[in-house]
Symmetry: C2
Amino acid sequence: MGIAERKKRHKEEVRASILEAAWQLVVQDGWQALSIRKIAEAIEYSVPVIYDHFANKEAILLELTKQGFQQLNQELIKAKNQANTPEKQIEAMAYAYWKFAFDNVAYYQVMYGLGIPSCETVNQISELSTFSDLILQPVKELIAAGKQPNTDPFLKLHTFWSMLHGLVSINMMGSGEDKSDLNQLVLQDFIRGFVTGMKS
Amino acid sequence: MGIAERKKRHKEEVRASILEAAWQLVVQDGWQALSIRKIAEAIEYSVPVIYDHFANKEAILLELTKQGFQQLNQELIKAKNQANTPEKQIEAMAYAYWKFAFDNVAYYQVMYGLGIPSCETVNQISELSTFSDLILQPVKELIAAGKQPNTDPFLKLHTFWSMLHGLVSINMMGSGEDKSDLNQLVLQDFIRGFVTGMKS
DNA sequence: TTATTTTACCTAACAGTGTTAGCAAAGGTA
DNA sequence: TACCTTTGCTAACACTGTTAGGTAAAATAA
């Protein structure tokens, strides 16, 4: 029964093409300009076909969010593997996070901003646990080697992520002037403070 | 010619009622549910009247953003006045910022999130300079009294604001479970690190 | 091969959105 | 009273997300 498989394959192709078209539209004109009809036109199908693959528009954006976290995770893993001490790993990952955000502004805005990842949906992103684990590991090592081994690693993970996201999102919106020099300094400042805060 | 003044006064009343209705709708149903027609219905005027007072919907949200920053600034001033050392001022302002964000989630989301304050619009918010000055002053004092008096206060302001916003926005979206205990700790952790990072 | 059922897909519509053109009536001026 | 300006309305345009209902093609069964 190769027919059923062929159909399944075709269905997945259409699904993938929806996501690809959606992503292209987001990159070109921003996520605000994304519409079901534009996607339909791009994939050369009628509008209701899209609803055979996704419950609604939000589900498409949620999928893009997942893809974004997958790619971010890959970048973080790459950065982590290029360093050998936990503090250098954390530093490299912070830079990688920053670089990902500004290399993929559209992704980053879909992943956070825009109010779409509401309270319920954000917990559906399983990629978040991978993301957490990636940072948690060197944090734990650093705590264990430091002078306060009872520090809660989750607290530090939370701090790390929050501050990094704050850094990125503040600088992403205020980019009227180019203060990338200042931003680099802020990032350095943060990393130094974060790492030394766990050692001493 | 009291007639012209009466008209002007009336026009301002209508303008204010638009903002009030818009704000009420945002609080009730979230900013995504805000629509020009709903505002028109609430103020008991027809739709085009709104466009006599605001160029477009974005202008209304921008005005709400300004209001939000005004209110935030007030809270920060209040908190600052209740402390007498620069480090206690910074601490109090951080808590006030946090409290404002979660007491006025709708405001905070309009002010940041949602992609509407885009690169161009955010620079139009004059209230941001007041906000900056409020934090800049104790930061400068702290730097002057510390061991590294050459530290750039703008860098520290940037760090302060970024991290605080990151803390808030991460915790605002992930509020599936109630981890307010953890959040309080993260906030404390951040403030301690920030202040001691400037003294030593 | 023919009849039947399933699936794939489309057209058209509903209810809503931001925005604006054009008109009627009321208010103020001469 | 006649004129003009302002004020506010109705109605429309061009979109949006979403779905009901129908048609033709494809797969299955007789």
